[in-house]
Assembly symmetry: C2
Homo-oligomer: 493 residues x 2
């Protein structure tokens, strides 16, 4: 085992050769175990000032590892497809599957450090952003993504000298180099960058995902240290498989508190005025068309999550919303069983990949709330996993709202009696019969469990930026009008 | 059944209502069957001049279908991520999974028609491009993608009048409209566009994927016709499941012809000069770094496919290539079993999704040639499927070359005796033991079958734009140098 405190920060070529031979075998073993078990992935974030040897470290990792299960994820200034989505989208898009190692250059810390070095970001905003990163990284860890965050540390003068040596007399690079901070060329800014980096390392070194500062004066020492840190991370990943998946354990009793039912408090008898319905529906749809084709909507985007009791009329309501939208600029996502590519990644990945580009609309028929509804009630998620989901979902939605998306969450509520009537109707009507399955009948028996889960969900995730709206849906017409009206109100807000 | 010749091109509201009621039930049934069996997908291409009602047709389809299994694929001018890849990449990226219906606006025919209307494309180039489209569409069909290609036809004067009616007095659109030909505003150009469309329809109306010209004067008639065409296409898709997957049928005898072995004709005894090896290797790597970081490489890209006998040294050769590349700008793809998202799409999709952006390099350790090697020998693909793959692969590679990628294909050949020695060595060496499986031993027994498959493959896919290079690999050093030298030569060519 490598112990940073016991070793000098210099390593002879001979020591390195001996160390390397042993390390490589251990790394390959650990990597093979990771690839075989597919329970976790490892993201190695290689950061540091230019000239500290980021490119050389990445090269070395490829030399040691089996390159079939490694991928480099590099981020520079965002492309236009990236700019059209929330900032975190591109990191989610590239998330390696379980069993794989990602090497990240230009990680999510980069733009924050740059903002700090250039004094565009004040201390409070910097700290806020780092706190959010901490929460995201904790979530990743619990979803089986192990982070190794490396900061290659090198004296500014030495780093400059190294960069100079990399360049031919005509300024061309002698070999590929990872130049990430080209915007920063004054000494003063570089000092501020290093100071910001130290501050960041302090704030975002959590127990689950600590930063490792690696002295980078000596190539051998630097590479050996990184290699050993990666080995430790791989071993942690192989031992500490993520909480889920677990053998499902049916939750048989509703949780004790909160002992209230939100749905029961609704007046489900509310009805639309049948005479005015058509006119009102068309007027609301016209306004929705106007709002979603207006010029200022192009910098926004609309994400609507439909949840509710089975047969509450989500499909019919979605059709009325959809009919008002530009057919090129929306997509309806029915949330079904995850694919294997989705199962191999953190839970929220399958929703991140479907976040529309700005100006577009995504309608989710059932959503990320499945985690705290069906997965909770059916025992598909362990209690500790669905419990942490409330905060994770709130973070997720705030990232959308921060990127100017309008997030609308609708719960369509009906009474058990009305549901029974609709189930029976579905079985009789040709056009609807594929909408009813034995599963639906089984779920009816768990009504109180779903009711409790829904109540807690609304309590915990009705945030200021993305509140829940409960829709009384025994009368379909009333529900449809309320759905449209809610979306319009939220777009105006 | 709808019969275009028997019906007038106008339909009363009453007839439409009756027709619609019946159609909708049939459409939902057919769509449900498609979604359940997951054997095929349907792409509905909605084309036509502006004002002919493309948006209204798409709207109507959403009204009739279950929108959970429908997605709109819209293409305008390419984004920067799209421009950085071959033209076809964006259509491959969006390919719906089997079981789903895609509605395509701005399909792959669009830029050709535009080029013709603006006289940027001569007749010969137009015909060539259409011939290529025909081959691609035939391939899609055989891979389970059923195409419905619709051209909404409307007299130019009527179309203009409709567009005018869509606009408010201030020029704003009254509702979302699909304006695809805004570059074309002179009457002359519009006439040329319609003429080019007719020509295209003639050339690309194949038996498998005919165009349907739908008269669009009357909304009811137009929508009914499209709905009926879609129903017919869905039924074809449900009946005529694609050729593969089939129950695997082991090919037990090598095919009669060609009765030669390319590998046997190689002088596998060739050796590198051990004294010069290191120096030569580094010099070749230096030149590769230079070539792949040169400014002109940014508009190109490098795709290298490694094939060869098991244990021929692909991994080691790849490491020597990889070491010369910018760690941010390559990816090594080990081709393993397809994921379920990959299995749900045409065979080449998993390779298209990994085509690098221009300026980058993708190294495939085993490749799309698996179709005519392992899938052929092990009977995973039916004979008619791997037979058509030669042409499909040639088309695929030409699309890469046309987009300025350099495509290098390397076959690393060793003798059966050398393979045996290496297998035994792998079992003994700790660092290599995960590279050998019982599968490898079984494959050795099929040496003559693989040999025959390889010979035919090289014969049929060694094209001028993407030739095969056979690498004598009994001596690893010789092989590595030849691999590097070949890539450099191809980059220079």
């Amino acid at each position: 085992m490598f112990d940073s405190s016991r070793l000098p920060h210099v390593m002879t070529a001979q020591d390195f050769a001996v160390f390397q031979e042993q390390l490589r075998e251990q790394l390959l073993d650990a990597q093979f175990e990771l690839a075989q078990s597919r329970q976790a992935s490892v993201l190695t974030l290689v950061n540091g000032s230019d000239g500290a040897g980021k490119g050389e470290v990445v090269d070395r990792l490829y030399e040691w590892l089996d390159d079939h299960f490694v991928e480099t994820l590099t981020y520079g200034p965002p492309t236009d497809e990236e700019r059209a989505r929330p900032r975190a989208w591109r990191y989610w898009r590239d998330m390696p599957a379980k069993g794989r190692i990602g090497v990240v250059l230009g990680s999510w810390h980069h733009h924050l450090l740059l903002g700090r070095a250039q004094r565009r970001l004040d201390r409070a905003a910097f700290a806020d952003a780092l706190a959010e990163i901490n929460r995201t990284e904790e979530m990743l860890r619990r979803e089986g993504v192990f982070l190794l965050k490396i900061w290659l540390s090198l004296d500014d003068r030495l780093a400059r000298r190294r960069l100079d040596r990399l360049r031919e007399s005509n300024g061309a690079l002698r070999r590929p180099a990872v130049i990430e901070w080209s915007e920063i060329d004054r000494r003063k800014e570089r000092e501020r960058l290093n100071a910001a980096a130290l501050e960041m390392i302090e704030i975002t070194s959590t127990g689950d995902a600590p930063w490792s500062i690696v002295p980078a004066e000596d190539d051998h020492y630097r590479d050996a240290a990184v290699g050993d840190l990666l080995l430790q991370t791989l071993r942690r990943a192989n031992n500490g498989a993520p909480a889920s998946p677990r053998p499902p354990a049916l939750v048989t009793t509703p949780p004790a508190a909160p002992n209230v039912s939100l749905a029961a408090a609704l007046d489900l008898g509310r009805k639309a005025n049948a005479d005015d319905y058509s006119r009102e529906l068309h007027e609301l749809q016209r306004r929705l068309t106007e709002a979603t084709t207006a010029k200022n909507f192009r910098a926004r985007g609309l994400v609507v999550a439909f949840e509710g009791n089975d047969a509450a009329g989500k499909g019919g309501a979605i059709r009325r919303v959809r009919a008002a939208l530009d057919p090129r600029r929306f997509r309806v996502h029915g949330v079904a069983a995850p694919t294997d590519e989705e199962r191999a990644r953190p839970y929220l990945w399958r929703f991140w990949r479907n976040i529309p580009r700005s100006g577009d609309t995504a309608i989710f028929d059932r959503s990320w709330y499945g985690r705290v509804l069906v997965e909770r009630v059916e025992g598909f998620a362990a209690e500790e996993d669905w419990r942490r989901a409330y905060q994770e979902i709130n973070d997720f939605e705030r990232q959308l709202v921060d990127a100017h998306y309008c997030v609308v969450k609708l719960w369509l509520a009906i009474t058990p009696e009305e549901q029974l009537r609709r189930f029976q109707d579905r079985e009789k009507t040709a056009i609807k019969r594929y909408k009813i399955t034995p599963e639906d009948w089984r779920n009816r028996d768990k009504w109180p469990l779903y009711d409790a889960a829904m109540t807690e969900m609304v309590d915990r995730t009705s945030t200021r930026h993305a509140p829940w709206t409960l829709v009384e849906a025994n009368d379909k017409k009333f529900a449809r009008l309320k759905v449209l009206r809610t979306i319009l109100e939220r777009l105006d807000a």
